[in-house]
Symmetry: none
Subunit: 185 residues, 4 copies
DNA sequence: TATGAATGAGCATTCATTCAT
DNA sequence: CATGAATGAATGCTCATTCAT
């Protein structure tokens, strides 16, 4: 399943043959069908095995501590997971429109992912640390930034910022805003 | 080419057959090879025809006006284009890893897209309207937000915000920040 | 289609590969799918093309002439057709239980085949030439004899009767009965 | 073996998988190869186990009693066996052309089956009960009628004759003939 | 005996591409 | 320009058979 995930991510689902996966995994192609009824089910199983939603839940839940550093830490770990499961993400985006099961995973990932962020932000507003604001918007923004960051990592790698620097500055930006003198004069 | 783009976006490149495209376009499958040397080249031609980078350049360049409303307008139009060229985007994400030509388009889109934003932000800093900050980070954040917004539109459509509201609030959030009493007390 | 029929009859449907048929027919295996959507549909088309029910109708209908020689002639021609379409018959028996379409052909062949015989017999009773009797029974008997004769031709070929002799004697037997002095002396 | 026979008859030999048979028989597919060297040998063993030739021998031999009722009884029992071993017959017809062993069984069944009938008929001629005639022809006719009756039972079940009525009338027909005034005036 | 994982050759089917017309 | 018949390599999947346990 790990092999399959890797190969699907690299070559796309349709372009990757069962024989290639089997060879890569060191088994005969017939054996795959002993464990999975079809290539498609293999994809679904692989995606589900590598679902990182539980990880997100763990790192995002229960944190009631102050904001800036915590948010950076959260973002860094979130980003780490996305990096680790880079293959899974690629497939989610590539096959999400062709395979219902994959779409479900992608939908639940993106909606729950930003929901968890949203809840954290709300708790910080309640704690008086953040301004009252539409947390749904911010949560989706944060989620988008982290997700796209992971997805476009290779394109922007020429930039002179390290990964962690980029994330930290993004969080700062979100927290502080970029407008001069924004609400005190 | 429009038909092809639509069908590739809906079914994926590999899953869409030349015959299907031809039938949909009302021609025989042989005729396609009169205009394009291969299915792959058809994809590339379609993607390039629908490249919306020029549009982005138009809406983003030359605007030296004050920030908040302009940025909102820019974002709205950016989002409109993304919405319109939704098929193109899908293909960019789906086939970007398999087809070099497509990847080039995606790369130039994302890098130039955020570069243009970056330049605008820099000009507003120079104009004294925005705080000095890492404009590359903000530009990528904005780009990410708008891009993911377009890509996850259907997932979040249950939300009680309209598209334009979401975009406006996002811009406000970026401009103002979300932290209470930031840096002045 | 003729090639397919022959090969299906000889090797059975499942054992005969599409490639074999195509090779035998002098075409590429892909081309078969240009004309038939599947191997199964090819079988059905072949069976229907070789349906000899129309032939039976022709030789059996409209004959109102006296019995013994006519019946022999009918039987001979019936048997000729069965011999000619021997392949078709084999398939009918072999695949009739697996393929609904084939079964339909077999059903209509056997029911209509004996129905036509039955009608002829009835007309001869009306003409006063035959004893009143259950024509359905006789028709099915005749049909069975001719059909099995064709199907077991090779098994019994060691017999010292020619095909036409066997058929003639069978008809005589049916007409005369085999019992001595039957019920009138 | 019984399971195998049933499944081969229902689905055809090639379409029935060893795994299906094993599952149906409540054993693992590997175990089958402990008892039979191959799928083909399993078929042959099953056919041979269900060979009803011995039954035919029993019911047809040694009967020297008068004709009409005896023949009806014989036919009825013959038909019963055919009905009981319906699966076996199907396979005989379906696989007789593909499998040498099966063909042998089918050949010996049909030739010996009609031979036995033939001998009985000859004995009744010798006893003065039947007219001297070509018993081979009559025997094959009788065999054909009974065999086809069994094979087309489902097609003609709409008929208003019961199974036993049909058989009885067939025998009467063969004995009496259908021609009026057939040889005494 | 009994299991079921493992193999790999074989098959129906698909499809990009070619080409005679 | 346009057609669609023709090709054949490629692919997902099946299944009889083997074998370690």
């Amino acid at each position: 399943m790990d092999t399959a995930l890797l190969m699907f991510a690299e070559g796309g689902f349709a372009r990757t043959t069962v024989k290639d996966i089997a060879t890569s995994a060191g088994i005969s192609n017939g054996l795959m069908y002993h464990y999975f009824p079809s290539k498609e089910k293999l994809l679904e199983a692989a995606i589900e095995k590598h679902s990182f939603l539980p990880h997100l839940r763990v790192i995002l839940k229960g944190t009631e501590e102050p904001c800036r550093e915590v948010l950076k830490k959260i973002a860094a770990r979130f980003s780490d997971i996305l990096k680790q499961e880079n293959n899974s993400i690629r497939i989610l985006l590539q096959e999400g429109h062709s395979n219902a099961e994959v779409k479900k995973v992608w939908d639940s990932l993106s909606s729950e992912g930003s929901l968890i962020l949203q809840q954290y932000l709300s708790s910080r507003i309640a704690a008086g640390e953040l301004k009252p604001h539409n947390t749904e918007v911010t949560a989706r923004c944060l989620f988008s930034i982290l997700f796209m960051f992971s997805f476009t990592r290779d394109i922007f790698k020429s930039s002179n910022l390290s990964d962690s620097q980029f994330i930290e500055e993004s969080i700062d930006s979100i927290l502080n805003g970029i407008q001069k003198n924004n609400n005190h004069d």
